[in-house]
Subunit: 416 residues, 2 copies
């Protein structure tokens, strides 16, 4: 790290330390952007094992050596600002449940994503299953505070891996008519879910509209793995939305300081957002920069730490400057049960997301134990708290899925 | 209420509803101020049974009828902006523990104030006592996250009421050398505590310095009771600090909307802040506008409600525009035990206070059950969370109180 980069870093850190509260400090935000530009130009981002991505980035002016591409941050920002929509409409089977995402819209709230374990109401801890998944989608549908039923609320351990994307799709389509999130199991799965969802929704998508938002994760530090890159491409080409996120552990997979984590996360996510626009100008995107300090003693992230709140405030401002919707986290916690620790950590993270002006809040209900567990009890408590925000509407039972679509989906599942 | 006031109110409500997040919307804040000016001019504030206050306000241009004084809000703002310091130094017996309050300074954190009941570690619920009080002050001293040991952490039920102010003073002076808060039991008690604290600190106060901050509460709606008015005067004349606060229950003692509560609270508190400056130009003050929705079903405030977070954000901005430090609340909750509800409510309130940029955060440790109880366990959990903020320093044991001061204080207590 050169001396001048360290100086820039220090300037960025100072502007944050000067005030706990995110202000309207455009100069400070520009310092973060400029420092990220140096990371992109001098260090570059590693795009693993995806020649098409490397070719596209080279065409756009990137300098590749092996799978590392050095990029022009200012040019990436120009691409994103020129093409990415500041707001798009996410549609559900029920048009009354369509939700705008982005500028001027209320935050979209989706449940926990990716929990392998479930804690039932009797306290039993079980593996996720197809039956529980359906119940969780139904609970997300019934919760007025949740405006999106998400994706992979728990893992369906009793379903073969190849069948899971379509089984989850079937659950979202039959237990709810709210919008939900797409599959990123593979590009083929993403495409299949996109096509079947479009059929279920029926209405043709107008410009500025789409049906699914997909979680595309960078792998910090400064790396994208092949599957997210291939999914990002497939999704963008279909005109569907990607939430390009960097989920950093400060002190482990990212610098330990707020400014350092913002710089790294911005560099990673900016590259992914620009890639989506290169594949399809105007592809809807959401920007996610999230960072939690990693506690070396307990070997787990400190959710709700003030440092992570600062990251959230500045991440939302960076998204605003880029002209794209920003992501936040819901009630995430390291707590093993829904106790005072869980309440305090989750409450602090959700507060920061809401007050930062985040447009899409993931993990908004059910999260326990660093996301390894979805708790039915905490799901209800989180959903009740979210209902107080008055963002959603009371949910009537979902309209039944059209018979033909359901038959086709079940048939595809059998053949998967 | 005239038609045009309703229109102003609606404009104010809309600017808040437009975004969950407090922005830098000076026009919106001005709308709140202007609406408060109409309340001050057309409705006025009731100053109960304190002729000196009425005389002073009349001299300053107020129009009194009975104990209601109609006031010129713009003139009150001029008085406060001209004289009140944006920042002052709050001193402790140990100069290393002096804490700046206000512009550019880290928030000061003080424990719960006013709990009649104590929950001990074994779960027993007891009345507050002199012995427990000393233990709580010692705990506040030992907590690196708390930079002020507060006042009336619990009520000393085993001490005669007249003796309590000096007994509390003795506890703060012997179990800690951090700054603490003054007494508002009566003007005489306030003065006695101020004089004895000055003797214990020893160092003469330079301009911009003082030793004690006092909680002066308006009684919403639009009323001041006599004792706070008399204390405010006595404290200002001694050059000590007053935290002039309005603690509103939205829908009970204040309008149910965010904008309405802000308008009422600003009118109340502006009058008190200006009064302090009229008594002594330059008297240090802190502005507190706090409002929680009152739940009619449970007959208790909803701490941590998003509406109260909005109030906090805009209250801090109103303080900034007035040029005085702003107050926030710590981990306040309606929960009866320190459970997930307690964690979530308290975490959300504290987050809002910190991210609003509040300069003095009261009730930062130990609060349970709407403040009716101080919990030893929650005190430790709150203090541990605050320590993560890295605002304070590790506390060495307090320096012993000078023998002569202690003897005089004990003598005064015996004679009280």
């Amino acid at each position: 790290m050169s001396a001048s980069l360290i100086r820039e870093h220090r300037v960025a850190a100072d502007f944050i330390a000067a005030s706990y509260r995110a202000g309207c400090d455009e100069a400070g935000l520009e310092t973060i952007e400029k420092a990220a530009d140096r990371v992109l130009e001098e260090t570059g981002i590693r795009f693993l094992d995806d020649p098409q991505t490397l070719d596209m980035l080279k065409q756009a002016g990137g300098v590749a050596s092996g799978d590392v591409v050095r990029l022009d941050g200012a040019e990436l920002r120009r691409i994103v600002r020129r093409h990415a929509p500041a707001r798009f409409l996410l549609r559900g089977r029920n048009p009354a449940r369509d939700t705008p995402v982005g500028e001027g819209a209320a935050p979209v709230l989706a449940p926990i994503y990716g929990a392998p374990n479930v804690v039932l109401d009797n306290g039993t801890r079980v593996a996720g299953s197809r039956r529980i998944y359906g119940e969780l989608v139904a609970a997300a549908h019934a919760a007025p505070g949740l405006t999106n039923t998400g994706q992979m609320i728990c893992v369906m351990e009793d379903v073969a891996e190849d069948r899971r994307p379509l089984e989850m799709l079937l659950a979202h389509l039959t237990h709810s008519d709210k919008p939900f999130m797409g599959s990123i199991a593979s590009p083929a799965a993403a495409e299949a879910v996109i096509d079947l969802t479009a059929a279920a929704i029926g209405r043709p998508a107008l410009p500025g509209e789409c049906n699914l938002v997909h979680l595309i994760n960078a792998t910090p530090p400064l790396t994208y793995w092949p599957n997210p890159l291939k999914c990002l491409r497939a999704i963008a080409l279909k005109g569907e939305a990607s939430m390009v996120s960097s989920y950093m552990m400060m002190g482990a997979t990212a610098p330990v300081t707020v400014a350092g984590a913002l710089i790294q996360g911005y560099a990673e996510v900016l590259a992914g957002l620009a890639l989506a626009q290169l594949w399809r100008p105007g592809a809807p995107v959401v920007m996610g920069i999230l960072a939690y300090p990693f506690d070396m003693r307990r070997m787990q992230p400190n959710f709700g730490d003030p440092a992570s709140q600062l990251v959230q405030f500045y991440a939302a401002e960076l998204g605003r400057r880029l002209g794209v919707p920003a992501r936040g986290d819901g009630a995430v916690t390291s707590a093993k049960v829904d106790d005072a620790q869980s309440g305090a950590e989750g409450g602090r993270v959700l507060s920061a997301a809401l007050s930062s002006g985040a447009h899409f809040i993931l993990h908004a209900a059910g999260w326990l134990e660093q996301g390894r567990t979805v708790s039915r009890e905490k799901f209800r408590r989180d959903a009740a708290a979210l209902a107080e925000l008055r963002l959603g509407r009371r949910a009537e039972p979902p309209a039944p899925l059209e018979r033909g679509i359901e038959m086709e989906l079940r048939d595809r599942i059998d053949r998967a």
